[in-house]
Symmetry: C2
Subunit: 222 residues, 2 copies
Amino acid sequence: MREIKVVENILKANDEIARDNREKFKRDGTLVLNLVSSPGAGKTALLERTLAELKREYKCAVIEGDIETTLDAERIQSTGVPVVQLNTKGACHLEAGMVKNALLELGGGPFDLIFIENVGNLVCPAGFDLGEHHKVTICSFPEGADKPLKYPSMFVRSSVVLLNKSDLAPHLFSSIRQELEENTAKIVPHSNIFTVSAVTGDGLDKWYSWIRNEISRVKGNA
Amino acid sequence: MREIKVVENILKANDEIARDNREKFKRDGTLVLNLVSSPGAGKTALLERTLAELKREYKCAVIEGDIETTLDAERIQSTGVPVVQLNTKGACHLEAGMVKNALLELGGGPFDLIFIENVGNLVCPAGFDLGEHHKVTICSFPEGADKPLKYPSMFVRSSVVLLNKSDLAPHLFSSIRQELEENTAKIVPHSNIFTVSAVTGDGLDKWYSWIRNEISRVKGNA
């Protein structure tokens, strides 16, 4: 029983800090999106393109989560948007306390929109509330059509699912597009499922519209 | 300090069962390979092709690890090789005790070669010894060239790295092949790095040769 108690304590401590983060985001009128995916599904490329679209409209910032390296923060920095890199040093997910520290480091707010790019891991980040408004799962076509069925917990908890790398679909098996869209719809309890390509821009308008609506909603409620 | 103590106990218990598994594999003269990767890097497709090549030469079996579904076991079953599906029900990695149970379930041994296909996760399975002889990391070209740098612990602990989906490389950015091979070589302390495609068969001969050599070595030592 002792192990279970400790896990509960860790999650309880995380949830308390997540609540503090959430209150800060509410005070500041900031929409916060937590991007989660397998390694290499295209989170950073999607962020680069999304920031290029939205950075003149909204005051944006990014918190980058990685086990090692500052490679992703360097890519974001070149967009001109403020960014902080968190290195988890082995941990498989971000926790609310790491985000709290990153917010202090970031300074310069309040922001209209903060993206948190989680560690590439389709399993563990599902269990940790960071205080964000929404989780956004990114799943890419080369990963195959069965990922929503095999890793349902992340998909179920996400307000948006982006099916990325649609540009590679013609080079995969012929039914991949239909199968991935159908399997995602089976698991996800809403219709915010957008097939996109961060390379060609295909389908991104729906994603941008969704973000704009959510920012309006957050500002209305702030 | 309490949390750290509990984690140590969990790992110690895992290591004791892993030792039992390892002794059984030694008694049986079985080579055991633990396949690890991101979700969708192509573990199951590589296994299907590898079993087609080796199943007439060696007595093979497969232990499939997934959070949910029996999709992968169904694919392996169609090769005619005995397979057991483990469902971790949320856990992000396999542990030695799960493998021990799967071996009892499998029956029919001793086998020359057992593949364990881990949960798709490039982080957590690195920390858990299952009693296997070798970890084999599979990393696919569409994941991008930076994965060995960003998720080094799995690569460092693997005796072989398969860079899979080389058939998709021409549809990605032009330097991807060179960059992924160079980044892998920076992290991995040996030269068992094979660029392969489970679709076209490109490069798989080196992987098959490596397995044949290892089986001979295990039989020699048994």
